[in-house]
């Protein structure tokens, strides 16, 4: 509870900084945030899975991300996981922690991507260190629910 606050405040400040120091609002800011998340995700997953058994397959990895990883980082599990069994996974979180303070509905919808970029990187970094190369994007239609789409890249 109280120990989540520092991260949330820091996350908001990081977003402010990245957007303030750029004159134009282009995809570069999102990419910078995503790359920061990537590095953090890589480190975090190493610490988290130190004593975990080897994963059987890709689906097992995704289930781990949805349950344990999400619980550790965002304090709850993913509400819905869908896949087409061909490398695309959609993770639905109905009350995404980093958006719940922003709005409950459609207000500030255009700012939501900024607040999701870091988390996308977090997931991509975590998967990468579990041996899964992917592209992670997120979309929001009504806050604080959001969907993360993971596309597995065959190496």
């Amino acid at each position: 509870m109280a120990d989540e606050a520092p991260f949330q405040f820091l996350h908001n400040e990081v977003i402010q900084y990245i957007y303030k120091s750029a004159e134009t609002d282009n995809g570069r800011n999102i990419a910078t945030l995503e790359n920061m998340g990537y590095r953090v995700g890589q480190g975090l997953i190493e610490r988290l899975t130190k004593d975990t058994a080897r994963f059987k397959d890709e689906l097992d990895v995704m289930k781990f991300v949805c349950k344990d990883f999400w619980t550790c980082v965002f304090k709850k599990q993913i509400d819905n996981l869908r896949t087409n069994h061909q490398g695309i996974y959609v993770l639905q979180d109905n009350k995404f922690r980093l958006l719940s303070q922003l709005s409950a509905g459609k207000q500030y919808l255009e700012h939501a991507p900024k607040y999701l970029a870091f988390s996308c990187g977090l997931v991509r970094g975590a998967l990468s260190n579990l041996g899964v190369k992917s592209i992670v994007t997120a979309e929001v239609s009504i806050m604080p629910a959001c969907k993360f789409q993971i596309m597995i890249q065959k190496m």
Binding site: D3, Q16, R39
Partner: protein, 180 residues
């Protein structure tokens, strides 16, 4: 059963590791954006200030601590309640100046610098400078102007991390002009 308790201590550790790693990524990004360490230090202080002015409200809401009577009480609250609540560590309060307006917070281990090593070309970087900004911003919102700086830093070879806080003055509440 033991696996259950592993999970709760894990989640506390995970929070602080998430924060530590994110902070590390931020400092790395700042070092890339700015050429010299002084600029990075200033940015960290500014960002810390922005966080501090918001964190104080969160703190007061969670802790329901009343007004402090004097600077000594403020120091105790910062060390025993605030640091413990947000960073999970309790620094000791020492080295009071004779006038009672300056003291040190001694941290045996600074959670922000887990897994961190300073490379040689960044010897003047105050890695944890965010903390100085946070303390300054938070106290300004409760009408205290303070000066906060790092006196010792484990990253630069000292044994402990020491934050020196000096009370400058009480900030008078300013009513907006035209309220006569």
């Amino acid at each position: 059963m033991s696996r259950q308790s592993n999970r709760t201590t894990d989640s506390k550790k995970m929070n602080s590791e998430l924060f530590t790693l994110t902070y590390g990524a931020l400092v790395t990004q700042l070092c890339k954006d700015y050429e010299n360490d002084e600029e990075v230090n200033k940015q960290l202080d500014k960002m810390g200030y922005n966080i501090g002015v918001r964190l104080i409200e969160d703190f007061l809401a969670r802790s329901s601590i009343g007004r402090c009577q004097d600077f000594r009480e403020t120091a105790d609250v910062i060390a025993k309640v605030a640091f413990k609540m947000y960073l999970g560590c309790t620094p000791s309060v020492t080295n009071w100046s004779p006038a009672g307006d300056e003291f040190s917070l001694i941290l045996e281990n600074n959670p922000l610098v887990d897994f961190v090593e300073l490379p040689d070309n960044h010897s003047t970087l105050v890695y944890s400078n965010l903390l100085c900004g946070v303390l300054r911003g938070a106290l300004e919102m409760v009408q205290m102007a303070v000066d906060v700086r790092f006196a010792q830093d484990t990253l630069r070879g000292d044994n402990v991390t020491e934050i020196r806080m000096k009370f400058i003055k009480r900030i008078e509440e300013n009513l907006p002009a035209g309220d006569e």
